[in-house]
């Protein structure tokens, strides 16, 4: 009896020992691979800084030219209302056709045309119209330019009407006007750098979590070292798990650097929820995504193939999991497919913990979905591992 427990605990020691030596081996190999180390460092620091600073989905400095056919006080007043940060006035046109030519070349984004007798008609109380041409090659930017322009013109019209009716501000106050007071939650300053830098971090984590273990495994196959492991008493789990453990450790470290070394000092990104929960969830996400990478490595022969395959998986995951497009806007079948994307759950978890201060009481369903997905992928990869050599 006693002997059996000793041999049992001895076996457990050996089991853990194997996991430890294999994980250490992966870490040593990773840190000796200079290009990977540089790429990793860049991606978790500079790249996040750049996307936090640079990416803007809001309208910003749209170039505007004006054909002013009226050259009156009213027309100039209107033109002056198209100002920065939304629009940037870059010149006046002598002829309306010139504007279209410049738009074809792409040097202007919007053309404002004010007809002759604009001031006159306003003063006379006649209805009048102006024309705004917007380049919507970049659809979101074009639509928001049109939207902003509409608001500017409407305000201008309101002001003109008010002046005509009351001639003073007292008159304006008596008019039935609805003002919409909106309150923005979670990001009161509407600081875009928060969203952008967090989504850059999520993208980077996803790419490394899938690519690092996949290429590490493919490299072993390419160099033939995996044969040496196959004839050793290691089980497939003991061969695959250390890769995931090592990469998870590295990614957690890199995430800490990105969050506390770049995003907080540079953009003031808050961590409103539990830091421990965040890192625990990041580890779970890395494990799940690594499972996908390892599975990919079992159906490919070399690093080039596995690189291409993971690209094929990662690209739709990044685009469709809700970073760039809200899930609700996607067709039903894409929505259904994305239930298999661990990133979909992790996005909700990460924004939830960082910006909303949510805890497990809110995020438990996402956490369970991610864990189940990870377990299934990893199990499948382990099952495939042995079969691929036969």
């Amino acid at each position: 009896m006693n002997g059996r427990t000793t041999s049992g605990s001895r076996r457990a020691v050996v089991w853990w020992g194997r996991l430890v030596v294999m994980t250490r081996k992966e870490l040593i190999q990773l840190f000796r691979d200079l290009p990977i180390v540089l790429f990793l460092t860049y991606s978790f620091t500079l790249a996040i800084l750049i996307s936090g600073n640079g990416l803007r989905s809001q309208l910003h400095n749209a170039s505007l030219v004006v054909y002013d056919g009226d050259r009156s006080f009213a027309s100039r007043d209107l033109i002056h209302r198209f100002h920065q940060p939304y629009f940037r006035f870059i010149g006046e046109l002598s002829h309306p056709d010139e504007g279209l030519r410049r738009m074809d070349r792409g040097s202007v984004m919007a053309i404002l045309e004010i007809p002759p007798r604009f001031h006159e008609q306003l003063a006379a109380g006649e209805p009048t119209a102006i024309q705004l041409l917007v380049d919507t090659t970049n659809a979101p930017q074009g639509f928001s330019a049109a939207g902003y322009a509409g608001r500017i013109v409407a305000e201008f019209g309101q002001d003109i009407s008010a002046t005509r009716i009351g001639g003073s501000h007292q008159g304006l106050a008596s008019l039935p006007i609805i003002t919409s007071e909106h309150r923005v939650w979670y990001n009161p300053d509407q600081n875009e750098a928060w969203f952008e830098s967090i989504s850059a971090l999520l993208r980077t984590i996803t790419i490394f979590a899938i690519l690092l273990p996949a290429t590490a495994m493919a490299r072993e196959k390419e160099r033939g070292t995996v044969e040496q492991l196959l004839v050793s008493p290691l089980t497939p789990l003991q061969i695959m798990l250390p890769k995931v453990l090592a990469m998870t450790l590295v990614i957690l470290g890199a995430t800490a650097v990105a969050l506390f070394g770049v995003m907080q000092p540079a953009f003031g990104v808050p961590v409103r929820g539990s830091v421990i929960l965040l890192f625990f969830m990041t580890a779970l996400f890395t494990f799940t995504t690594a499972g996908m990478g390892l599975f990919a490595s079992t159906i490919t022969r070399n690093q080039a193939q596995v690189g291409l395959l993971t690209l094929l998986v990662v690209a739709p995951m990044l685009m469709l999991s809700g970073i760039t497009t809200p899930m609700e806007a996607l067709p039903d079948w894409v929505n259904a497919l994305m239930l298999l994307s661990p990133l979909r759950y992790f996005i909700e978890i990460a924004y939830g913990i960082l910006l909303k201060g949510a805890g497990l009481d809110v995020l438990w369903s996402q956490a369970i979905a991610m864990a189940a997905l990870g377990g299934a992928l990893f199990g499948f990869g382990t099952w495939r591992f042995r079969r691929q050599f036969q």
Binding site: V21, L229, V231, S232, P233, F389
Partner: protein, 666 residues
């Protein structure tokens, strides 16, 4: 294009000079490492010039510089009288050169068929379609690849790939062929084929060839050669001239107990080898009597029996030259008999009717054999004969389609994990982590096999001493010389004191001293620690070390026995070996084949053939050759080598197979 007969420097053809390549004080550095350190070389028209030396000696660098694909740091390289010192000069000589880079089929496209590969290289070189058709037909017939025209290159065996590589290199009939280790990793039959084809083409087309090799026994095939080691030339000249540099004789005998005899001999002689039951000693004395009495003294009372004294082979000469250069580190006494829990309950490995199918292809077909504890068992066979598949089944990498096996007392099917704890394995490809240091690799495998820290430290010391790794401990494995790497791999395979060791071509690309040391370790493991060893190799000189051999052909074992059994089986079947020396070996060989000596083969500059009736055959071949005006210098009996056995067996089977196919086809 007509070969110019008078010196004419033109774009049409190279200047006809007697000297094709002239290299003086050539130096090539890679950052701080000096790869080639002042080599002089002169290759004359029509020669097969050999560059021989261990891996990393600088052969490839030199050949690439001559082919105009690598710059060099000092010295001059003249090819066809043109100084190759710039991109433009290199472009000028490239049209007359065919270059076959190192590595099996590396210059070929795996997904193209045999014919498509040839066509591609011909069109790249602007060979006219009519010439292409004619040359292709001839070369394919000569290499016996014509049956495989439509087969994708990746499905060819190693030997076939190399022959195809040769065709693609020579399709534009270059004036100079530069072949970098064309026979590494190729089985003896394909190797012999390769040399025969090369010799014939060269003679016919008046080509010149510069060829490198790591097989020392191939040195005899060159007209002249340079022996290179560590970037320096140790010897050069004709094989006979090189042999004369190290006068001495090779004494082969048996003495019991072998281990004692070995230890005693090593005190006096540096070149001592145990080949199966025999001992092989190189002495500097050329007189047989003198050599024997010296050895008797060294043996100090142990009586030698079955003594033979031979002229040393070129390989022995090279080892002697290398030993002069390097300070030999002795690993003596490092092996201690370790207490392993063995159970003497039967064979270490037992295979019973093993079968393995890949789709419709049967790679292994009812293979059965036994390996006793402490036995070195050699599995021989051409590339693709199924050796590696047998090893993969026994080590549990792939499951068998049928049959049974027991390894180290455990059943292959039900106790896979128990087997894995008890075996060590070293694969063809170097299978350690190149980006880990020596010590990190040992720690890793110690951890995998569950050794505790005390045992790990003890085994680490043992491996370092056994493999001679002192001073390399914290080097990255990728930077170690090939021989040292292989010994480290062996050490890692032995970290958990396995009872059975599987070695799949462990010495491919290792220099002769490294190989000898490796086999020294293997012998002692088997003799002193009773480790059973199953090994595959393409070096037939190494097969002599084995206690028992099995020859595989097309997935089956076709011959089995100790090396001397194998030889006597062939002698009984096909007769004894005759060695013939003539003035013009190539032509003589053709005449002999026409005259009905179908098994005659070129071995170096000598012709070997098996003969049942020595006296009659000798008389007949003398008349055949002298009727053609060729002088016969000498004809003599020679003991069969394992290479002769291998080639005889495989050729006979190939002929039988071809005959039955032809019979079935009609």
């Amino acid at each position: 294009m007509v070969a110019p007969t008078s010196p004419q420097p033109s774009a049409l053809g190279p200047q006809h000079t007697d000297t094709v390549i002239k290299v003086s004080s050539f130096v090539k550095r890679y950052k701080k490492n000096v790869a080639v350190d002042g080599i002089d070389l002169e290759v004359r028209h029509g020669e097969i010039y050999g560059l021989i030396g261990p891996d990393g000696a600088g052969k490839s660098s030199l050949m690439k510089a001559i082919a105009g694909v690598l710059t060099y740091d000092e010295g001059t390289v003249n090819v066809f009288g043109i100084l190759v010192d710039s991109e433009r000069a290199a472009e000028r000589v490239k049209q007359w050169i065919g270059f076959l880079p190192q590595g099996l089929g590396l210059n070929l496209y795996p997904d193209l068929s045999v014919e498509e590969n040839i066509d591609f290289f011909a069109r790249l070189r602007l060979v006219p379609e009519r010439d292409l058709l004619e040359r292709k037909t001839r070369l394919l017939a000569m290499t016996r690849l014509d049956k495989f025209r439509d087969r994708a290159m990746k499905h060819l065996s190693g030997g076939m790939k190399q022959k195809l590589g040769l065709i693609c290199t020579l399709i534009h009939e270059p004036k100079l062929a530069i072949l970098d280790e064309p026979t590494t990793g190729v089985d003896p039959v394909s190797r012999r084929d390769f040399w025969a084809i090369l010799a014939e083409l060269l003679q016919e087309k008046g080509m010149t060839a510069l060829v490198s090799t790591a097989y020392m026994d191939e040195a005899a095939r060159f007209h002249r050669l340079s022996f290179v080691s560590n970037g320096k030339e140790l010897a050069s000249g004709t094989p006979a001239e090189v042999r004369a540099l190290v006068p001495g004789s090779m004494v082969t005998f048996e003495a019991a107990p072998q281990l004692d005899a070995l230890a005693r001999l090593k005190r006096t002689y540096r070149q001592v080898e145990a080949l199966g039951p025999r001992l092989h000693v190189f002495t500097e004395s050329t007189d047989a009597e003198q050599a024997m009495s010296d050895i008797a003294t060294a043996l100090n009372g142990l009586a030698p029996s079955n003594v033979r004294v031979d002229e040393p082979e070129l390989e022995d000469v090279f080892v002697a030259l290398l030993l002069r250069q390097v300070e030999h580190q002795e690993a003596d006494g490092a092996l201690s008999v370790s207490a392993m829990n063995r159970d003497h309950d039967g064979p270490a490995i037992e295979a019973k009717g093993l079968i393995r199918d890949f789709g419709s292809f049967r790679a292994v077909d009812h293979v059965s054999f036994r390996v006793q504890p402490g036995e070195i068992f050699g599995l021989l066979g051409a590339n693709g004969a199924g050796k590696t598949t047998v090893i993969k089944m026994l080590t549990g990498i792939i499951p068998p389609t049928g049959g049974e096996g027991r390894v180290a007392g455990a059943d292959m099917k039900i106790a896979g994990n128990a087997i894995k704890e008890r075996i060590g394995y070293m694969s063809q490809a170097f299978s350690l982590y190149l980006d880990l240091t020596v010590v990190e690799n040992i720690w890793l495998f110690a951890g995998i096999y569950g050794l505790d820290s005390r045992a790990t430290e003890e085994r680490l010391q043992w491996i370092v001493a056994m493999a001679g790794l002192h001073g390399y401990e914290s080097n990255l494995t990728g930077r170690l010389p090939m021989g040292v790497r292989q010994r480290l791999a062996l050490g890692c395979a032995l970290v958990h004191r396995p009872r059975v060791l599987f070695l799949d071509e462990p010495t491919s690309g290792v220099d002769p001293i490294g190989r000898r040391r490796f086999w020294d370790i293997l012998s002692r493991l088997a003799r002193e620690e009773e480790v059973s060893i199953l090994v595959t190799t393409h070096y037939m000189t190494e097969a002599e070390h084995c206690d028992h051999l099995a020859l595989m052909y097309a997935g089956r074992i076709v011959a089995e026995g100790s090396p001397s059994d194998m030889k006597s089986q062939v002698e009984q079947e096909a007769g004894r070996l005759l060695e013939i020396e003539t003035d013009i070996p190539g032509r003589a060989l053709r005449r002999l084949k026409e005259a009905g000596f179908s098994e005659a083969a070129l071995y170096g500059t000598k012709i070997h053939l098996l003969s049942r009736h020595h006296v009659q055959d000798e008389a007949r071949l003398r008349t055949v050759l002298s009727s053609d005006g060729m002088g016969v210098k000498a004809v003599g009996g020679r003991p069969l080598s394992l290479e002769d056995v291998f080639v005889h067996r495989v050729m006979t089977l190939e002929q039988q197979e071809a005959a039955t196919k032809r019979g079935a086809g009609v």
